[in-house]
Amino acid sequence: MRDVAIVAFSQTDHRRSTEELSEVEMLMPVLHEVLEQTGLRTGDIGFTCSGSSDYLAGRAFSFTMALDGVGAWPPISESHVEMDGAWALYEAWVKLLTGEADTALVYSYGKSSPGPVRDVLTRQLDPYYLAPLWPDSVALAALQAQALIDAGEADEPALAAIAARSRSDAAGNPHAQLRGPRDQGEYLVRPLRTGDCPPIGDGAAGVVLAAGDKARELCERPAWIRGMDHRIEAHSLGVRDLTDSPSTRLAAERAGAFERPVDTAELHAPFTSQEVVLRKALDLDERVRVNPSGGALAANPVMAAGLIRLGEAAAAVHRGESERALAHATSGPCLQQNLVAVLEGEPHVG
């Protein structure tokens, strides 16, 4: 197997609304910046993969417009996932592992500002038993939070502490939407208060992957992907133990996360209660720095927030701040689908 690394990462400043920009106008600066970091031009890229959702824009095939931003003519090798960009990165990783390409550009974007995102996300639910009831994303997360409280694994002050730590850490992240401490606010859906929930906003992210020597050429300290895996839970919420995430644990195991301790973890936990579930599933203790970027509680551009976790973890390796980092992305209600990657840096030589 070839070694594949994340060699560059870029993201927008995430904002409540980018109504003055189209998707491609929001995305293009990110694409230019991430390519500039490597010195590659669009024509040099072996494979391009993106993640987004038509339901956010309310328009069919909305991702094809964004393709204008990558210079898709003459024809390029390209793919798209109707998911968070973390899964686009997974597809690109496989493409590089198979030797079909040496470099890949992965990007994702989401504008939640045009529509009612809590309601929009109900359309991803089972259409027979759930979608007709319109249980919104906060309501479903709140059911999971109450299950944790009932099980004695969290209480409201503990959740508030996660919110406070995340927003305080985000003060050092110029891209974050909520920077610095916030009031926990009123109940949105009890037991979750405004502070337990992610901000609604628009944003985009881009990552460049490269294999072997190409990665060393493009980046002083590549973030080598040591393993990556994704797993899902049973479809029906009522079948699952909402206080646990066996799919995250299994994905982490398959990605090699438990072979040696990690020093940093970027967890895609849009709700405070989900961090509790993920910490348990991943067996993370207080020695691990969790979400030094502020995480999804500080900026949650839907469809990009998971890719950003991979990008932030890689950037920590690039900067020499992490030797071994775990990155997690989720999709669907109550941590339905989970992806885990393990990234490592090499010691500096010379």
Binding site: S22, E25, V70, L130, W134, L143
Partner: protein
């Protein structure tokens, strides 16, 4: 260079509305028909677990399961969340609790709404019962909601009785209407285009790298992947590069069929746009036909294009734009 103020952001309502029609498998059909008849069915796995709501495949083994059993319309809350501000189309319009309910006789929980006076009246472990909708059609909403119930759980549920799942006039499909309301904003490049159209001018934008002029502009050159910003007035005349004859009338469209829809390369543009051709019999439209826009009274974009009467354009002048 004088700076111009940022133009006002254009906005328009965008409604996405669709009746999502789905066929049901045998298990879902039995369950939803059962709700119509005030009967709650579950499905039993080979391991003996009773799943409500029922599915056709065991989530643990992937084994196909069809063994239907009848469970009670009473149950126990396994977790809940108080919803102080119901959103449109949710089961109740007054504040309510979302609940997961394990019905008596079932091993798994069903998501629904609980009508309760306030969060202090709700707790995990509380007993609830189904409140049936007055009019039932064979859908999950046939359960209007749950309501508090003071009866204790019945005896051990191992004896949940077998049910054939057969009903007269079974429900075989569900229609799930969905409506989402968006506010569409077109972005900078398309806003510039739309603002120019308001003055009956058609503008493209030139790529700073390859110099091609795109119309309508989308903000990026698809060849170079860079932003376009230099506005270029194109047309108003243009050449039909290719076309099709539309024979099927679209819903809510008052244009008589057959009519011609064409790609039109406006003079000065490097990309053809598409529009309807009028003012000429449909079977006389041809490649190379020279056309010009026709603006309707108060129209915000050309209603259609019509022949200018000029001689047809040479193939060589537009072959690159096909």
């Amino acid at each position: 260079m004088p700076s111009t103020p940022a133009p006002e952001v254009l906005r328009a309502p965008l409604v996405v509305e669709f009746p999502f029609t789905r066929s049901l498998g045998p298990v879902q059909s039995a369950f939803l028909t059962g709700l119509r008849e005030r009967t709650v069915l579950g499905v039993k796995t080979s391991g003996g677990r009773v799943l409500v709501p029922p599915v056709e495949y065991d989530p643990e083994t992937a084994e196909e399961i069809r063994d239907l059993v009848e469970v009670e319309a009473t149950g126990t809350v396994t977790t809940w969340a108080w919803n102080p501000e119901p959103r449109p189309a949710q089961p109740l319009t007054t504040p309510f609790a979302w609940v997961m309910v394990r019905l008596d006789g079932a091993d798994t929980a069903l998501l629904h709404a609980l009508d309760a006076p306030g969060p202090d009246a709700v707790r995990t472990g509380m007993r609830v019962r189904v409140r049936w909708a007055a009019e039932r059609t064979g859908a999950i909403t046939d359960i209007a909601c749950f309501e508090p119930h003071d009866g204790a759980a019945g005896p051990d549920h191992d004896g949940a009785p077998h049910h054939s799942g057969e009903f007269a006039d079974p429900v075989t499909r569900v229609v799930a209407p969905a409506r989402l309301d968006y506010t569409y904003t077109p972005g900078r490049a398309q806003a510039r285009f739309i603002n120019a159209l308001a003055g009956q001018r058609i503008t493209g934008e030139r790529c700073p790298s390859c110099r091609k002029v795109y119309v309508p502009p989308r903000g990026a050159c698809p060849t170079c992947g860079v932003a376009t910003s230099e506005q270029v007035e194109v047309g108003p005349r243009g050449t039909v590069t290719t076309y099709c004859i539309v024979n099927i009338k679209a819903k809510n469209l008052d244009i008589e069929v057959p009519y011609v829809y064409a790609h039109i390369a406006l003079d000065g543009a490097d990309l053809a746009l598409h529009a309807r051709i009028g003012g000429i019999p449909y079977d006389q439209v041809r490649m190379g036909l020279r056309v010009e826009p026709v603006w309707s009274e108060g129209g915000r974009h050309p209603d259609h294009y019509r022949p200018t009467g000029e001689p047809d354009a040479d193939y060589d002048t537009y072959k690159e734009l096909l």
